[in-house]
Amino acid sequence: MSNNQKETKNYPNKGKSLPVEKSIKDTVFNIFKKALEENIFDALLIPAKVPDTDAYSWILLQDESLFDIADPLPPVMTVQGGRALSSFSKNGELGLKIAALLRPCEARAVIELFKLHQVDLDNMTLITIDCPGAMPLADYMNDPKKIADSFKKISEKWEISESLRPACQNCHRFSLMDGTGPDLHIGLLGENNKVTLIANSPEGNDLLEKLGFESKDSLDKWKTEKEKLVKEKTKKRESFLKEWQEKTKNPDGFFNELNKCINCHNCMNACPICYCQQCYFDSQMINFKPEIYLKKSREKGALRFPLNTMLFHIGRMSHMVLSCVACGACEDACPVSIPVGRLFSMVGDKTQKQFDYVPGLNREDPLPLQIFKEDEFCEVETPNECEEKATEEVK
């Protein structure tokens, strides 16, 4: 099954366009206010600015006064939304109906966590929004005002700016994809001064109906604009992939990128997919007696401390890269500016393609390592026989 075949599921043809009166934020909030008032859901998960500070964080919002500090698209991605959602829903039995407004990469992480049984989607409505990207966290923390201003300009023009996070510059999945991901999508692209609500599941349809909206408006304009930008960003992504594959062609290139690593595991702790309570690489499984370390040191003349940084990165890759949603949270959290996000995204791209898997695209797609087919990857196992077989088949 190729990617193209996958992407033909009940794609919505119609949506609901709403005029923007004051601001996009205001229009979006009015929808949520109505939904909260009419008890369509009990709380909304949304980013908010902590009063009296420049910091953003996620809140579960119930009291309408909190809309004053909420922001659907803050200039930075603090905690990855998938992580935030899982933090309160992983044990299930929420007892409340919750809607979550997420960036598309965050929603994809949620879908992956759903497959890993780390979120409860029973009473959850996933809502995504067309995402202009976000600014690097470190830049924002150094000069919040300036970065917030430039983000505003960038997001208004949907510019693929160099000052966005690298992960966002190279992101071609910034909008709704043709899969069973979110329930509802908020389209910002397309006509100016219009917000388009697109139901992407029966639940999403229900929600629109309950809100009294009829999905009758055409999506053509949004689609054209979106696809134009997707094309542009796919091109950017391909050149990024090419550049980094070249950079890491031999092992040295890869090592050089990681040799600043101080083993703080911030990348792992910021990663939405790394959900383990006790990471294998924090465990005592890889401890040895001093004489073993001395022996290792003698083999090469020196032994680097902290130990096992390379094992950690490659090992972590083997654990999660098939589900990597390329959100860049790891790179934002790195204190020594290692391009972790780019490395993982590059490796993820290649590995995911091998399994014909797009993380977070469809809720039904099983995780690649949970299934197998008897007749797959013959080219890896016995390349010669495989070729013979292929030629026979052709005959």
């Binding site: 009291d63 040799n259 101080i262 924090d282």
Partner: protein, 370 residues
């Protein structure tokens, strides 16, 4: 008069030669020190066993990529090293290692500990900076003049414990105007004296506490007061704490690099501190909203109860914080008041138990009787 020798060489070069000769003469089997990884400016601790590999060693390079106490603990966690190893640590790293040894997380035996009088280390975000060499040379100028370098960590700028305790050999660097020509090694233990015989130096009689050192300490004390005053305003405790920790991502990087936080599984990463979805409706009813993930403040306050009394002020936590929270300053402030209350100096005496693990019957007599 302390035992000391003078070496007529640039301090970096002199220490390098001394360590290299120890390694070549097989007096020691390895040197644990900083090493250049690459041309991109990356510096990392290494256990160097071959004299050939020693060419990239930079023992006094002003970076602390990890707290060496933590690194040595991972080296000796399962037992002492049977072979003699020289280790170059900064005073706070040494104190951290002593604290870890106290907690059975390492072993000091067979180490020759060498530690400099410390002018601080540069912030980690300068590692790989295009001006790295320039910043480092400026750093050395400030060490020569015994001035506080503005590029150093905030915690370093107000650290008063910059003279090593428990080191076998102290490298006197701070306030030495002729640092590029000569420097002094203070020999604090018989072990230090024994090894120093292999250094090309002449015996001198000097005191470590010079006028420059005392003035330097005074400058740092002033800064300390200033930083402490600015962090956590009095009277509005909760609000100010919330504002300080508002950007916290909950990545727990601070605890991960902390040399005192040695637990394999931190309590705050464990199931115990997971949020129970059952309490969600109650919390929302009470507050109308809830920050998620919750528990940031509990994590920081809780971590304080676990380790602040042993905080050695190394500043690793602030340096790894991706959102620039002055973690080290807050912890240092709390730590120093706790250390005063319990009359405890972390990393000073290996025999002295950590305050949480002991008690005295006759202390705090009035508490609980009101």
């Amino acid at each position: 008069m302390a035992k000391a020798i003078k070496i007529k060489k640039n301090v970096e070069e002199g220490l390098f030669d001394f360590l290299k000769s120890l390694l070549e003469k097989e007096k020691i089997n390895g040197v644990f020190t900083l090493k250049k990884m690459d041309d991109n400016g990356a510096i990392s601790y290494s256990l160097i066993t071959s004299p050939d590999e020693f060419k990239d060693a930079v023992p006094l390079y002003p970076f602390m990529p990890v707290n060496a106490g933590k690194a040595l603990s991972s080296f000796t966690l399962l037992g002492k090293t049977e072979e003699p190893i020289a280790a170059v640590l900064r005073p706070c790293e040494l104190r951290a290692f002593v604290e870890l040894v106290k907690r059975a997380q390492g072993d000091l035996e067979n180490f020759l500990i060498i530690s400099p009088t410390c002018g601080g280390v540069l912030s980690l975000n300068l590692m790989g900076d295009k001006n790295q060499e320039k910043i480092v040379s400026q750093y050395w100028t400030s060490v020569q003049k015994a001035e506080i370098s503005p590029d150093t960590r905030e915690t370093c700028q107000f650290c008063e414990n910059f003279l090593p305790i428990n080191a076998d050999i102290t490298v006197a660097a701070l306030g030495n105007k002729d640092l590029d020509k000569e420097f002094i090694l203070f020999l604090n233990s018989p072990k230090g004296e024994e090894f120093a015989k292999h250094a090309e130096g002449s015996a001198v009689s000097e005191e470590i506490e010079t006028k420059e050192i005392n003035e330097f300490r005074k400058k740092r004390e002033e800064l300390r007061e200033k930083f402490f005053k600015e962090t956590g305003k009095e009277g509005e405790g909760l609000k100010s704490l919330i504002n300080i920790f508002a950007p916290c991502l909950g990545c727990h990087g601070c605890s991960h690099v902390c040399p005192i936080c040695y637990c394999v599984l931190c309590d705050f990463d464990a199931k115990t501190h997971e949020y129970h979805s059952a309490s969600l409706s109650l919390d929302l009813k009470n507050k109308g909203g809830l920050k998620v993930p919750t528990g940031n403040l509990l994590f920081h306050l809780g971590r304080m109860t676990h380790m602040a009394v042993s905080c050695v002020n190394c500043g690793m936590c602030s340096d790894v914080c991706p959102v620039n929270i002055p973690v080290a300053t807050v912890f240092s402030k709390v730590g120093s008041s706790l250390q005063k209350v319990f009359n405890y100096f972390p990393g000073k005496d290996i025999e002295e138990p950590a305050p949480q693990g002991t008690y005295k019957e006759e202390e705090f007599k009035t508490i609980g009787e009101q």
